[in-house]
Amino acid sequence: MSALLRHRVTLGWLVVVALWIAAGLLKPGFARIGHLRYLLELASITGIVAAGQTLVVIGGGIDLSVAAVITFSAIILPLLTFPFDPSGMAAVAMTLAITTAIGGLNGIGVVLLRVHPLILTLATATILQGALILIAGGSAVSTVNPAVTFLGNGDLFGLPMTIVTWLLIAAVTLFVLHGTVLGSWLFALGTNDRAARLAGVGAGQAILAVHAASGFCAGLAGLLLLGMNRQGYVGIGEPYLLGSIAAVVLGGTSILGGRGTYLGTIAGSILLVTITALITVVNASPGWRAILFGGLILGLLLISGRERSG
């Protein structure tokens, strides 16, 4: 039991449960099933972005382009309408292909130019902003893509599609991390890049793969957001940059790479969304709300986030 308590992932989950119970006692509406389900829907978006982010971070990098990619995805989808495809699936596939390619370009840049991913993905984000000026706001497109609407609002056997999508992404991410050679390579690279390369780890392939995956996840999150919100806008992805990084680190993954699991990130995503919702229902001035938010994160971190020592 004490070993279990030492484990950060387990602790993260315990904190989520404790927080839900406490919030439910404090604010009766909070613990209603519908509300919790909605929180999970929201957490899905953060969680999906953070899935790609987790892979990149464990491999020793960081992806600062996720926010721009989310926005890009949400803005570009309505521009892609194909008369032959009333279901909208083609546009969805095309958008995801584009965002995956953007991620892949990040990976290629990191591998070939050997520029720190922080800088490279930041530059990508900047360039995407430029592209958005060209694309967004120009033409009057407001197509309703049925596939996207279903992804954002539909449900499968009573389970919202956002959550279903998240479960799928979570399963794949966990499998990639812990069940494939690529996953092992990521842990090796994030732990010690030089030693990993000398042991024959395919660093180039791994880096390329995780950045592409991150592009895919961000693109998917953009589509879900578009579906939930029915309308994309410039800036729709912004909250998810720090959000995804925070979810990853709150979940016990080391920001320096090599250590962590997506199971923790899932808890981290839920935690983040929960705290935000909690702050919303607390009636206080904006200054106090911010202080409460920061204090809560710090407090939860003190409970669950201690680096194991000794």
Partner: protein, 325 residues
């Protein structure tokens, strides 16, 4: 030589003029639309030989960059600067410098604190809050539970609109403010905040939304839970107007017209031309209500899907607003 009529104008600048547009952030759609009105007005003025060049900068949301860029505009001696301020205080000094150099400075939308400039052009944010609150008070007959949705804390616009609502709320003690939210002026965060509040408050009689896409987010949140939509206020965000029609709401909206940008250019050029421009031009708030919403929606196709359907404008109307005719 007659004294130049407007502030900052020294009368030594001759047409055609170079106009600088010091944008705080060019990526958001509202800004893009505003830039559209500016280039439009510049094109019209070019035909009259009044303007020959438009310089556009983008501070990427960083007030410090905006200072630098306005500085550069001064250095290259543009004749007029139109500016939407990234901070109500940060630009004071650099704008005063521009004014000293005889550059016509027109400040629109987000205003600066200093008065050392040619003209400030804006709607009245206080009035906005007041009218919105009054609409809610009227519709609810002064009785009911409401939620106030506001933009981000710490910036002047949100604070001013909220301040405008206060006296109306005080005058209607029957209105109970359940809670207030502060989110970015975007629909997604507004929807998130509203959803959590809906679970908290089973009974909501009105939503006093103070702008942007906040009301669209509120509608989406309530719709998802199958809640009945109470009277609400909002802005001319296209999605909100479309939802309003679709859900057949009782609602009220006003706007921050994008053509404030074009008007800024026009006013600055007129000032350079020796016209007497008032230091503060208050643009009356155009009102959208259940009576005229169809007129707006009829033109929806001309506007971006994530944009704002602003009221029509032309130079004659600008002359009127500036009191030139």
């Amino acid at each position: 030589m007659a004294e130049a009529a407007a502030k900052c104008i020294k009368g030594d600048r001759k047409p055609p003029f170079t106009v600088g547009w010091a944008n705080i952030y060019s990526v958001p759609t509202w800004m893009k639309q505003t830039e559209g009105t500016i280039t439009d007005v510049v094109e019209q003025l070019k035909k009259d030989g009044l303007v020959d060049n438009l310089v556009i900068t983008d501070a990427e949301g960083n007030a410090n960059n905006q200072i630098t860029q306005i500085q550069s505009m001064i250095d290259t001696d543009v004749d007029a600067i139109v500016v939407i301020a990234g901070s109500s205080t940060a630009l004071n000094r650099v704008i005063e410098q521009a004014c000293e150099k005889g550059i016509a400075v027109a400040n629109v939308d987000s205003l600066v604190d200093t008065d050392q400039l040619t003209v400030k052009i804006n709607t009245n944010s206080n009035e906005w809050g007041k009218q919105a609150a009054q609409f809610i008070a009227d519709k609810l007959g002064g009785q009911g539970k409401i939620i106030i949705m506001n933009g981000p804390a710490g910036i002047s616009v949100s604070e001013d609109r909220r301040a405008g609502a206060t006296p109306v709320l005080e005058a209607n003690p029957g209105l109970e403010v359940l809670t207030e939210t502060n989110t970015a002026y975007n629909s997604a965060p507004a929807q998130e905040a509203m959803t959590s509040l809906l679970f908290q408050y089973p009974e909501i009689d009105g939503i006093l939304s103070l702008g942007g896409a906040l009301s669209a987010g509120a509608i989406l949140a309530m719709d998802r839970q199958g809640r009945e939509l109470p009277p609400m206020t909002g802005e001319n965000y296209r999605q909100f107007l479309e939802l309003w029609k679709e859900k057949d709401l009782t609602a009220w909206a006003t706007m921050q017209p994008n053509w404030l940008g074009g008007l800024g250019v026009y006013a600055a050029v007129q000032a350079l031309n020796g016209k007497d421009i008032q230091p503060y031009v208050e643009v009356p708030l155009p009102i959208i209500d259940n009576g005229n919403i169809d007129e707006y929606l009829a033109r929806a196709g001309e506007f971006p899907a994530d944009g704002y359907i602003y009221s029509p404008y032309d130079l004659a109307m600008f002359d009127q607003l500036l009191g030139l005719k």
